[in-house]
Amino acid sequence: MADYSIWVLEYSYVTKYHKSGVLYGAHNQGYVKLPYCYALIKGKNHVAMVDVGYNNKEYGKALGDKFGVENWRSPKEVLAGVGLSPTDVDTVFISHAHFDHFGNVEDFPKATFYIQEREITKWVWAMSLPDRLRWMMVAIDPGDIIRGVDLARQKRLVCIDGSLENVLPNIDLHVAYDSHTYGSMWVHVRNDGKAQSSDAWALAGDLVYVFENVEGPGAVVDADQMYVPVGLAVGSQENLVMATEAMMKSVGYEARRVIPVHEERLKDRFPSRITSDGLRISEICLADGEKSRVR
C-alpha cells in the first residue's frame, strides 16, 4: 500500500558545474551536469511540493549570462508534465531560503508554505553583519523575503521551529540546523502510513546534492562507502553528515530512498522521461491506483 506518488521535476540546468561544489573536497575533478529541480508529492487529496524554484523574470538573464543556467521553464509548463497545474498545489515545504528554492512563490497562489523560523532569523542576523562577513549572506534575494511577508499576511506562510510530524498525513518535516543553511529542512514521507515505516522516502533539499554525498568512496578509511558532505555550507560539514545519518536512519539505511534533487543520475535508479521541453521527470514512487507519468 502506498499513499503518495513522488516525482522529481527538472525546471532548468547547468551543463558544467564544478564537482567540488556538490562534493566536499573534490577539487580539480572536473564538472558534472547540475539539474535544478523541485519535488512533487501527490496523494491523500493533497498536492505538495518541496521548493518552488526561481523566477526567471528576476534572475534569468544574470544566471544565463554569468553562470550558464539553461532552459528554464515555468511551473505551469513543468507541472503539466505530470498532468497538474500550479493552482493544484496546496502545500509547499521550503527546504531553505536560497533564491533557487524559495524564489517563485507567486506562481503558487493557493499553497500554504512551510519554512523553518531559524532560516529567517539567522538570515536577518547575517544581513546585519559587516561586509567582511558577507560570505554568510549570499544567494538570498530580499525580494523573496518581502514576498514572504505578503504570504504571512495572507496566512499562507507557517514558520515552524524544529521538526513537525504529520504536517500532512504521514509526512514529517525535519530540520538540520546550521548545515547547508541555518535552518535547512528535509521531508520524510512514510508511504505505508506506519510510524516505523518500511516504505519511507527522504526528500533532501540541498542537504544532499548527489548520490556520492550518501554513498561516497570510503577507501581512505578502509570502508566501502562513507558520507561525504556537499561542497557548500554556511553551517558545518559535521551537521551535514549528521543530517545525512538522520535521513538514512529514517529510510532504514536504504540509500536509494534519500532523494537528491540536483542529481542528474536519478534516471539510473528510477523510471524517467525527457519532456518536449528537454527537461527530465523522474518517477520516484507511485501511489496505489496512480498512473505512471513517464511510461
Binding site: V14, A62, I140, I145, V149, C159
Partner: protein, 178 residues
C-alpha cells in the same frame, strides 16, 4: 475635465501614494560603465549593498512578526542594529557625489533609504499596538526594494542577489576551462 474623470484621478491619487509599487517606474537607462572608474563604482556599491541588506533584514523581521504575531519580534536588538545601519547609509548617501551618468541611480538610492527609514518607523511603532500590523511597513519596504531593483547595474556589481558563493556559481570557471 468632466467631473467623473476628475473623480477617477482623485481616487487614483488616493489609492496610489507616491511610493506605491503599483505605480510602475521605468527602468533607468544603464550608464556607460566604461566611464565609471573603480573608486566611483565602489562608492556607489557601498550604499546599494547596505540598502539591499537593510531591506532583507526589515523584511525578515516583518515575516517573523506577521507569521508568529509575537510582538517581541519588533523589540529585538536586530531592529536597533538596522536603525543604526540606516543612519550610516543615510549619512553615506548625503556625502556621495554621483558618478557621471549615475545621477538617477543615486536619487533612487536616496528615495529607497527614506522608505527603509519609514519602514523602520512603522516597525518601531508596532509594540504600542495590540496586534502586529505589518501592512504599512510592507508597503514601504516593497517600494524601497523596487527602487533598488531599478537602479541595479549588474556590470558594477549592483545586483539584488549575490551569486558569488551560490550553488549556481560555476560558469566563470567553465569559461576559463574551455
Amino acid at each position: 475635465m468632466p467631473s467623473s474623470g476628475r473623480g477617477m484621478l482623485d481616487r487614483a491619487a488616493l489609492v496610489h501614494r507616491f511610493d506605491c509599487p503599483a505605480v510602475a517606474e521605468p527602468a533607468l537607462p544603464q550608464p556607460d560603465v566604461a566611464d565609471i572608474d573603480a573608486a566611483a563604482a565602489a562608492a556607489l556599491r557601498r550604499p546599494y549593498d547596505a540598502l539591499r541588506r537593510l531591506i532583507g533584514q526589515a523584511a525578515g523581521l516583518l515575516v517573523l512578526a506577521q507569521a508568529t504575531q509575537r510582538r517581541e519580534i519588533v523589540d529585538l536588538p536586530a531592529v536597533a542594529v538596522a536603525r543604526e545601519q540606516w543612519r550610516e547609509v543615510t549619512a553615506t548617501l548625503a556625502d556621495l557625489s554621483a558618478p557621471r551618468g549615475c545621477e538617477r541611480q543615486v536619487e533612487h538610492l536616496i528615495r529607497a533609504a527614506r522608505l527603509v527609514g519609514a519602514c523602520l518607523d512603522a516597525l518601531e511603532a508596532s509594540p504600542t499596538r495590540e496586534r502586529v500590523d505589518t501592512s504599512l511597513a510592507l508597503d514601504r519596504i516593497a517600494a524601497a526594494y523596487r527602487l533598488l531593483q531599478l537602479c541595479s547595474i549588474d556590470k558594477l556589481g549592483l545586483s539584488m542577489v549575490d551569486f558569488r558563493q551560490s550553488c549556481c556559481n560555476c560558469a566563470p570557471m567553465t569559461m576559463r576551462a574551455s
